[in-house]
């Protein structure tokens, strides 16, 4: 009962004091406003980076494993991995035969160098050529395409057919339908069967957008056997991905004749590897960013503390009167804590109001939105800043000697 009455009185005093010193309150609050705006925008930006990454990583498929010579992200010695033997197409068949948990397997061969592709008088340089089988669509989870992928017969027969990445199709065919047209890939003619939908994202190179897919036998015929080979393996059940991975590892070790105890001389890559690595990076960015922006909040807090000291000194007489009338230390402490907390809370709310339209501008550059959680966090932070920076001044007020405070003019 007591504490509630005092709380209500404290709030009333706080708002009366803030209103009585409008300009001063506005200027003091500005520090908190700026602090909350920068923290909120930083959080929004980090959210944007996260989203962009997750969207990009989704292109790799959560249920696809990539068996290849190189790991995607490695902290190990590059020199020892360079000595790993190359991948062989036969491994794909072995995995398909021996691992029951998988849905589809496709060898994917990519040219080391970029090639020129042309249609009529239009051409595009720097294209990655990928040779694969008809199982590719099933094995990569990348099935969004216009037209069709090549059939098993076309695949095994090494027919001169191809499927284009979205960016390539845009470049070669400004107008008109690419399907059925014949393009030249590094000089040889291929008929377009389909076009993949645009994947976008930050891993441009690794998505289908800038690639051309041709049957693997046609690829080997044109570019030779010694190109970079990845075996895409798609598991049936994502929850059994770990088991599947162990089985694939076993098949691969057997195929390679690795003695027990020797390290793998191949890598099984997954989207998770990227996500894990990247979320570590974003966490570091988030921590550093949040630290820097919270410095401005800290400065704002110091401003509040400063003005609260002024406020306490100015109102020494009032404190004396209240004490003479029977206000306990707690009541005085609470009065000033409430004042600084209210100041900061108002600052925080204004900060959020300012940050919201700004986050829409950020959204133009980096697709994002203000995370809802940050609204709650910002309000909480401003309250905490208010209480921390108000504590010393409030404590000074609370322990004033009533006789001296009353004598103060």
């Amino acid at each position: 009962m007591h504490i509630l009455t005092e709380l209500k009185e404290g709030l009333a005093i706080a708002f009366r004091a803030i209103r009585a010193n409008k300009l001063r309150s506005v200027l003091t609050t500005l520090g908190i406003v700026i602090g909350i705006v920068s923290v909120t925008l930083m959080a929004t930006g980090i959210e944007g980076i996260d989203r962009a990454f997750n969207k990009s990583a989704a292109a790799f498929g959560t249920d696809v494993m990539y068996v290849e010579k190189w790991p995607w992200i490695s902290m190990d010695d590059w020199a020892t991995m360079r000595n790993r033997p190359d991948m062989k197409i036969q491994y794909a068949a072995a995995i398909e035969r021996q691992v029951p948990l998988i849905d589809a397997v496709a060898p994917v061969m990519t040219s080391f160098s970029r090639r020129r592709v042309s249609y009529g008088d239009r051409s595009t340089e720097n294209v990655l050529i990928t040779g694969t089988t008809s199982d590719y669509v099933q094995a990569s989870g990348n099935s969004e395409l216009e037209g069709r992928f090549f059939s098993p017969e076309e695949s095994s027969g090494g027919r001169p057919v191809c499927v284009l990445g979205a960016t390539i199709a845009e470049n070669l065919f400004v107008r008109g339908d690419p399907i059925g047209k014949t393009i030249r890939v590094a000089g040889r003619p291929y008929t377009v069967l389909g076009v993949f939908e645009k994947q976008g994202g930050m891993f441009g190179e690794f998505t289908s957008d800038t690639r051309i897919y041709i049957p693997i036998s046609a690829f080997q015929n044109q570019f030779g056997m010694h190109q970079y080979l990845t075996i895409n393996v798609r598991v049936i059940d994502r929850s059994k991905a770990e088991d599947a991975k162990l089985e694939i590892e076993g098949v691969m070790r057997k195929a390679r004749n690795l003695a027990p105890g020797k390290p793998n001389d191949f890598s099984i890559n997954q989207q998770e590897i990227l996500t894990e690595f990247f979320s570590k990076q974003t966490l570091i960015i988030a921590i550093i960013g949040m630290f820097i922006t919270s410095l401005s909040l800290f400065v704002g807090g110091i401003g509040i503390m400063n003005i609260m000291f002024v406020s306490v000194t100015e109102r020494t007489k009032e404190i004396g009167i209240r004490k003479a009338i029977g206000a306990k230390r707690r009541a005085i402490l609470m009065q000033f804590l409430l004042e600084s907390a209210s100041l900061c809370l108002i600052g925080g709310l204004i900060g959020l109001l300012v940050a919201f339209p700004l986050s829409l501008i950020v959204d133009q550059v980096l697709p994002t939105s203000m995370p809802m959680s940050i609204v709650g966090i910002a309000i909480l932070i401003s309250l905490v800043v208010g209480i921390i920076s108000g504590f010393l001044p409030a404590y000074r007020a609370a322990k004033m000697d009533p006789v001296e405070a009353l004598r103060y003019e």
């Binding site: 009962m1 007591h2 009455t5 005092e6 209500k8 009185e9 009366r16 009585a20 007489k317 009032e318 004396g320 009167i321 209240r322 004490k323 003479a324 009338i325 029977g326 206000a327 306990k328 230390r329 707690r330 009541a331 322990k399 000697d401 009533p402 006789v403 009353l406």
Partner: protein, 240 residues
Amino acid sequence: MNTIIEFKSIVKTYDMGGAEEVLALRGINLTIDRNEYVAIMGPSGSGKSTLMNIIGCLDTPTSGLYQFNGLNVSEMNDNELAKIRNKEIGFVFQTFNLLARSDSLHNVELPLIYAGVPAAERRRRAKETLGQVGLGDRTHHKPNELSGGQRQRVAVARALVTRPSIILADEPTGNLDSRTGEEIMMLFEELHRMGNTIILVTHEADIAEHAHRTVRLRDGMIESDEPVKKRKTYAAAKVS
């Protein structure tokens, strides 16, 4: 038990830094009973402010025993003293000491807020007390919209509203013209007649003559303590 205030060899010294010490009170023995009307007099520097601060529980003695209503005040901590001030003592100051930003009603409600009285009852009691001092129609005026006499009446209402054991007035007419001062003194007389205990600290002899007993201080000691022989009264005193 009729004794409200009992001082036994109260000493108060102020540390002025270094080895210097000022002896403000040098062993005061004083007893004040319920419904007394006492004036404490003395020239400046006599220790009467110090005495008032100790009686009012704003300060504690350096040594000696102070019993208030049988409670040993001299050993109380800050919060216990605050509670005594809130419930048992009503202060009236020379400079009124009202909260400038609050209206009369809120100023009078203030002690009840710290006593934790619920809002509705608080309002009722504050209004009633303002009516008692003749300001029933000034509840929503701020101090700067009131005359000096009216401000002091608000202060008296604030002192009365908790129904304290004593009313402690420090030069209550010091900032008022003589006519308004007389009005305030009439108010005190009426309050005394209604059974309140009043302690009046003043250096003006004619103000002190309203009291029933005068305690004179000099150099931190009681010089004299005697009943007022020729009391000023207002036969027709009537609180409006």
